[in-house]
Subunit: 609 residues, 2 copies
């Protein structure tokens, strides 16, 4: 069933432009920032197995996964760029500690071994298999990057333990992971080692899920952890958004590897449900803070949006996996939406701090509005500035690893064609081609392709869904659906005509009725009050309006200025309605750059006149 | 400081039209409905003192207040219309039981005497003084209506106990009522008995409030029960909305009686804060379910609106009291807003069922939207149909007593002038005048006045704030501010030109930006989906539009029809914005008639094109 083969970052060079800047910010700043805060908070100590009760900082059940994701990210950077000797030394020490403390039966979890050894595999909500999955993903990446096998050997021993406990003996108190992730790792283990046992284990956990009565959090229904029905019967994205998309990634990978059509159909239904009914314009998903969950179709509130960084990252990887199922631009389109919006907004401009929730609106006056109940009982709104670390700090190392593998998103093979999924100043060098894109994308839509040693019969360019008009120079081409099939010459160029435009949401989206969002290419724009000293919700705009591009010294994309209107202020609470309004200058900035100055109101969706 | 004297319902006859229908619905249906459900739920048994542990239905700390409010309502109806012999017999039996079970020191609370006698006056959050206040209000009303003094004597003995415990000995575990109400009752006791002790007691509780560290609910800040600062320093309506307005009523009554200018200033600030920044268009107040509280200025969400019936009733009584401080139409204007909207919406068309919360919007798709957390953890939205009784059933008997005294709102005296505050087919007969209004108000704005035996030098008509145009026939008049001063003839008439119009909210109200509400005279209109089979939030309307009046067989006011627009439906979640929309017929009904058919979406605020 694998019709498209994604080309992995190993052969992809981020050479310049927008993505080079972004890649290096992660490589040289974010990686260190996350490591340092993990050091401060005792997280790295988890895998050093140096916990002393009463002396050490408290350990948490998910610390292994935090550190593992950081190791995975560093491994990707080592694989691509070498270096990181100091970090490698630290990781090697952790690997030694893991080897030393791994139980005889192969069990490996820093929290349970050091803090609650009598509770191993007794509580489904306690992330043991989730941590196991992240350790495995880290071990694979580290093995591939460094050729050092010790970490992977440890992990394989742990997988034997899991196989015995959960599949052979069924001796654990639960049957499937309370937080999916292990399934993804098992399929990667199968890919990396060729050992079919790992695919079988993955299929066991995928197939068992939703077929048994399992423990959930006290507040949760079974659909919270996607355990209410067998996975092939799923047709709506429900429950904890990160858990959900992590499951869907594994389902998609498994379906494509095994040719399981029912499983792939479920993945398609779930993908379509998300993209057509449950996704913010930024690519964010999971609208409710309550349980960090998906809610119902078209429920996309802006002020209360949860939109966790990990969830959008997960959705991008789900789409990347689904991209292998056939030539369907919808997948790369969603990836583009996430890459240029929710994924970027997750990190501060200086690369050091991160959003867990990615707000769709700030309205300072609504913060802590229940003034007569104690703060801990007030309604939750997202924080208004990024932090370097969180109590539950899953997102920062997830950001580390997604930017470290950003090269994975650009190219795939379809038969004897090369597919260009994303655009950037990026090159691909493998046994079939030496291709270079020269572009300022997403600052404009011009991309110049230079090809050497090409053995592909066609180069298939995805036409971004935002693009109404394009030109191709220097090659014959045909537009087929959302793809431009090019007869490759040594040089050709495409120009996806890029200008500011407004989009609207489906009328079923209550939060956005009568409103529009400004876009420029794939980039969502927003209004911050620091640039627009008005009540932002009292602003409006006409669809036909002219924009001026304003260079901002802090990032490559232009800010955009136009004329809008502000509702006339008055003193009373209500008055007879009129159409009075005042013209005002509106200054939009790229959404992902928001909240990098002082705390202030922000909106994406502005009223349309 | 009393410049205006409100004329009480005793001399006011509700003769016909809109208010006769409404008055009789309460008199002949709602009173019975509340009594019967109070009987079913064991509430009436509270004051029968027949509780047997393990056998009786459980008693609750606030049952005395529920029954007392019902007795007060019946007493008003007896005072005005006589009758209710069966109810009087029931009440007399309760009075005998109260006399029998009242403690020697005068203490009287059915819950504490029968269930937790060792906890008397130990917990400020347990409504003892609130219940005491309602018993006192009921006793005064019953005494005045029937001339039977036993109930009042019991209450006076209880007040002695409260005076000794809280003022002389200070032996209770708290100093001021956790829920205000007693203060109102004490001032009424002073008015009714002439005993200044009661005014002094009221002033003690008013003056002490906010000056001492007092117990609050675990979730609450001190401003929840208006206990954070001395009452004269209050300048924002904060905390539990019913508690707040009950305090303000007492403050206003006290200020006017004692000439306490600082206290009156505080009342004016609080009234203005509510009316200019914290009141729904229906007259509802207290926007948050969380603590049933006021939040911050301009925070008036529609979908989540709390807007408790008791709170709006309290605000109407606060305004009625403030009306005595001077000739200021703002007070009667707010009363009118409440009378024709939140007060009416509290009750079903059949008179039997009630809203506790008065929703400003229904959106069925948002109900229980957190599908993957258990129902008890999901976000709260108001119920979508009225109930005959609630677990905490304060609102239904409050509805009973406000409609039983609706005659209080129409007339007041200002020097040697008669002020007409509200309009209706109502007559006033006292030693100074025999006045009759003939009108279909609020179906139209024509009011014909017939005067006999008039000794007032002027009749001052309040010009409703919604009225831009009016004519006076048959008398000389002068418009002074918001009042029309008429040289009274035996017959004259006024026509407040009434036609449908749209209002808008202050641009600071985030929930209503870009929207308008349809009004007809004082009546707010709404759209119910049962009449308008569209996504209601996808509808819009132009300000300049023509309306057709449609007679509805279920109520006197007309429904209103016009042409509006529905946003064009499409399949995807987002698309390039356009202005496409389809013209649709919009059928508006009076807000207070909503939710009397099947459960369906409802909006008041509709987008303005």
């Amino acid at each position: 069933m694998q019709k498209v083969k994604n080309i992995q970052f190993k052969n992809v060079d981020i050479e310049g432009g927008f993505w080079k800047q972004r890649y290096d910010l992660n490589r040289f700043v974010s990686i260190d920032s996350v490591y340092n805060r993990f050091e401060d908070t005792g997280r790295n100590d988890a895998l050093r197995f140096n916990y002393e009760k009463g002396k050490s900082k408290p350990l948490h059940i998910y610390y292994d996964s935090d550190v593992a994701k950081w190791i995975e990210a560093v491994s990707y950077l080592i694989e691509k760029n070498g270096g990181y000797e100091k970090e490698q030394a630290e990781i090697d020490k952790m690997v030694d500690a893991m080897a030393e403390h791994q139980l005889d039966n192969g069990y490996l979890n820093s929290y349970y071994i050091q803090v609650e050894p009598d509770k191993i595999f007794t509580d489904r909500t306690c992330h043991e298999l989730y941590c196991a999955g992240h350790l495995a993903e880290a071990a694979i990446a580290y093995d591939r990057a460094t050729g050092k096998h010790k970490f992977l050997e440890i992990v394989e021993k742990y997988m034997d333990c899991i196989e015995k406990t959960f599949i052979k003996d069924r001796s654990a108190r639960f049957s499937t992971p309370g937080h999916e992730e292990l399934e993804i790792a098992l399929i990667k283990l199968y890919d990396y080692t060729g050992n079919k046992k790992y695919l079988d284990m993955a299929m066991f956990f995928i197939d068992t899920r939703g077929t048994l009565e399992e423990q959930e959090y006290e507040f949760a229904e079974h659909n919270y952890a996607q355990s209410a029905v067998p996975v092939r019967d799923l047709d709506m994205a429900e429950g904890h958004a990160v858990r959900a998309v992590y499951l869907y990634i594994a389902m998609s990978e498994a379906a494509i590897k095994t040719g399981d059509k029912n499983l792939l159909n479920a993945c398609e239904r779930l993908f379509n449900n998300i993209v057509n009914k449950r996704m913010y314009v930024t690519g964010g998903i999971g609208s409710a803070k309550l349980g960090e969950t998906f809610t119902v179709d078209y429920d996309l509130p802006n002020l209360e949006a949860y939109s966790e960084s990990c969830a959008a990252i997960g959705l991008s990887l789900f789409a990347l996996s689904m991209q292998q199922s056939g030539l369907n631009a919808a997948y790369a389109d969603v990836i583009e939406k996430i890459m240029y919006n929710n994924m970027l907004s997750s990190t501060s401009l200086d690369g050091k701090a991160f959003f867990y929730e990615n707000p769709l609106e700030f309205h300072l006056a609504s913060v802590d509005k229940e003034t007569s109940v104690k703060p801990q009982f007030r309604s939750h709104l997202p924080i208004r500035h990024r932090l370097e670390v969180f109590a539950c700090s899953c997102c920062p190392p997830n950001v580390n690893r997604i930017f470290a593998r950003i090269g994975d998103f650009f190219f795939s093979e379809y038969g004897d064609s090369l597919v260009i999924n994303q655009y950037g100043a990026v090159s691909l060098k493998n046994e079939k081609i030496n291709l270079r894109m020269k572009t300022d994308y997403p600052i404009n839509g011009k991309v110049k392709f230079t090809l050497k040693d090409n053995k592909y019969s066609k180069v298939i360019l995805r036409k971004p869904s935002w693009c109404d008009q394009f030109t191709v120079d220097g090659a014959k081409y045909q537009l087929k659906g959302e793809y431009i099939q090019v007869e490759p010459n040594m040089e050709f160029s495409v120009d996806f005509k890029m200008k500011p435009y407004f989009i609207q949401a489906n009328p079923m989206v209550r939060a956005d009725n009568g409103k529009v969002a400004l876009m420029y290419g794939p980039t969502v724009y927003c209004l911050e009050r620091i640039d627009n000293p008005y009540e932002l919700n009292a602003l409006s705009v006409r669809l036909k309006t002219k924009f001026k591009k304003i260079k901002n010294p802090n990032y490559l994309l232009p800010d955009l200025e136009t004329v809008g209107f502000s509702d006339e202020a008055f003193d009373s609470l209500y008055r007879k309605a009129n159409n009075d309004k005042n013209p005002v200058k509106l200054h939009f900035c790229p959404y992902w750059t928001f909240a990098n100055r002082e705390e202030c109101d922000m909106i994406i969706w502005i009223r349309k006149l």
